[in-house]
Symmetry: none
Subunit: 204 residues, 4 copies
């Protein structure tokens, strides 16, 4: 008996879109609090005020839902990070402020569902699809950094802009996580200060 090609409902009407949104919201909450493996589909459905049947008509399975929650989360992150115009900051002498502002923006973005972010980070180590989404996201940010560095090429010490972007991004990411996700023994402000100093000395 071949499997009937189960179609996932793509909601076009207002009601359907709301329902799907409710499920995503409920799922984000539960995944944040109890993790992906600690949350089951029935819970999600009932937290969304929806039957388990509806759940499975909107999502292929629990993993597919997780990926959608993640995409949704990333969309908001992107908006927060790229939303702010750092337009005029590149003028000579403003390097320190520029880097600080990058760091602050990045840190602030992590205040958006930090618990879900944590769970998603964890899953990237074990799930290829989650990893792929993270890579894409990271690619976006790296590309931006690279083009930023390119516009200030002559003021930057290294010639290897790509590697510079990667290294700076790594340093930044891990510091953010140690602050926002794991409670670092060293307080946030001191870390940011040193991080900023490190990046500036390195780049300029």
């Amino acid at each position: 008996m071949e499997r009937a090609n189960r179609k996932v409902r793509i909601p076009r009407q207002k009601r359907g879109i709301e329902t799907k949104g409710r499920i995503i919201q409920a799922a984000r909450g539960l995944f944040s609090r109890k993790g992906f493996h600690g949350t089951n589909s029935k819970e999600i459905a009932s937290a969304a005020g929806v039957s388990i049947g509806s759940f499975y008509s909107y999502f292929q399975d629990k993993k597919a839902l997780f990926l959608e929650v993640l995409e949704d989360h990333n969309d908001r992150l992107i908006k927060k990070i790229f939303g702010q115009g750092q337009g005029g900051l590149l003028e000579p002498g403003g390097e320190k402020e520029f880097i600080d502002s990058l760091i602050r923006t990045g840190m602030a973005a992590h205040d958006l569902s930090p618990q879900f972010h944590r769970e998603a980070l964890g899953m990237k180590y074990s799930d290829p699809d989650v990893e792929a989404i993270h890579r894409r996201m990271e690619g976006l940010v790296l590309d931006r950094l690279v083009s930023l560095f390119n516009t200030m090429r002559e003021r930057i010490r290294t010639k290897d802009v790509e590697a510079a972007a990667a290294v700076v991004y790594c340093a930044f990411e891990e510091v953010v996580h140690s602050v926002k996700i794991f409670e670092s023994r060293v307080p946030e402000e001191r870390l940011i200060h040193e991080l900023s100093d490190m990046i500036c000395r390195y780049l300029f």
Copy 2:
């Protein structure tokens, strides 16, 4: 889920110790290949050539086994990292070589069961016990860095040695992971070169 107050045998005889070791080895392999959630206890027992009953007389439960595999893994890491005496490297002028050597040592350590390392890293995001072990490990490394930096205090730019250690460690960790665990788009050598440069410029 509730914990039975079952007695876990602590093997004192040679045979028991070997058996336990065999289970840990088998588990490391399976956890590496299939992840913690993708591996079941029966598989582990039979890969270790042990009955499921024996398995549970050596380990409280699957999670406890994971923690032991992790501790064992960390022990080896520690040995690899701290084993090398970086004794004489602190002489004036040798800073660059010193940092390079630190980085190389750290990178090399990650060639020890990188797949298991990856899994353990992932689990630290969702399991408090795993997180605690990571913290302890990290604490060890940070302490070492701090004391290292202290011995070269006057040659180091920042006064906030603790934060410096944390930031350097973060940068290092994430770069290592992007190389050893996720395939970075930028080749290893270029990343190491920039990382080393960044740390040196920052510190000295």
Copy 3:
């Protein structure tokens, strides 16, 4: 499972009758390819280009639809089998031709949706309603055979016309199925030849 006393619409207008027909056609195709249990109502509705709501306004439930498909199928069978006038064939000396013609007609009838026929045959073993329909159909054929045999009473060896009809019908049915539904190891023509011979020797 309990039957709601939902009203099933009996379509009287052209459009309704066509819709119902489309559903029956679509269902026959799906039941043939995937079996009754392997086909779900949504599939049927969408294959018929009809909403699931409409589907349930035409048919009490999936089983009721199956029964209608079966009745429809049997109606065509009946037409094919009884449509041909075997009128003049009873003249003395023509017995062999007569039996051959009966067999050929019966075989030909099975070329009508043989896959659906197969499914319906299977379901008669597990569903009383399907069994009842089969019995009625069989009754029709047996009655016809009995009356046929009666008209040639004095040329027939046995006095027990009813049992003769039943036995001949059984032999015929199973041979047809082994040819048309299961691929017999012995080729069709040889089987027909022997079947015809067996029936003739027996009857005349």
Copy 4:
């Protein structure tokens, strides 16, 4: 996460063999009364006085269990059918008795779990594995018939022994089923009488 290669337990100890046997017995009863699709695995387990976990450690899934029940059933059939030596029956003049005895033996065999037999017959129309088992069984019987007919070659009318075996077997099977599984309108004795007569007239 690839599926762990679930091993089906092959019981070697007395207890395990008994348990498996109990499940098979219970399943035969339930399949007979409620059919394959009408019976669920939990019911079977509890009817066998066994946990659902045990059930699945002995059988890959419900279908696999059905196939084992069927094989078991067929084994007994075979014993019943081939157990009786029809050795001396081939002497000249004994043809009628010989055929009668074959028919009686076949009929008697069907008194073994006729309801399960019915279900299995039904499933052969929809399940390829069940069909294959039926074919093998049928092959065994046909081969026996062919070799039987060969030993009495010169007394038999037809030269096409294989087709003869097939046709005779078909007639027999369907008559048995109409008697033992569906209640025929014509009483058993009359059917047997005519069937025997038909086969004898045809063969000799």
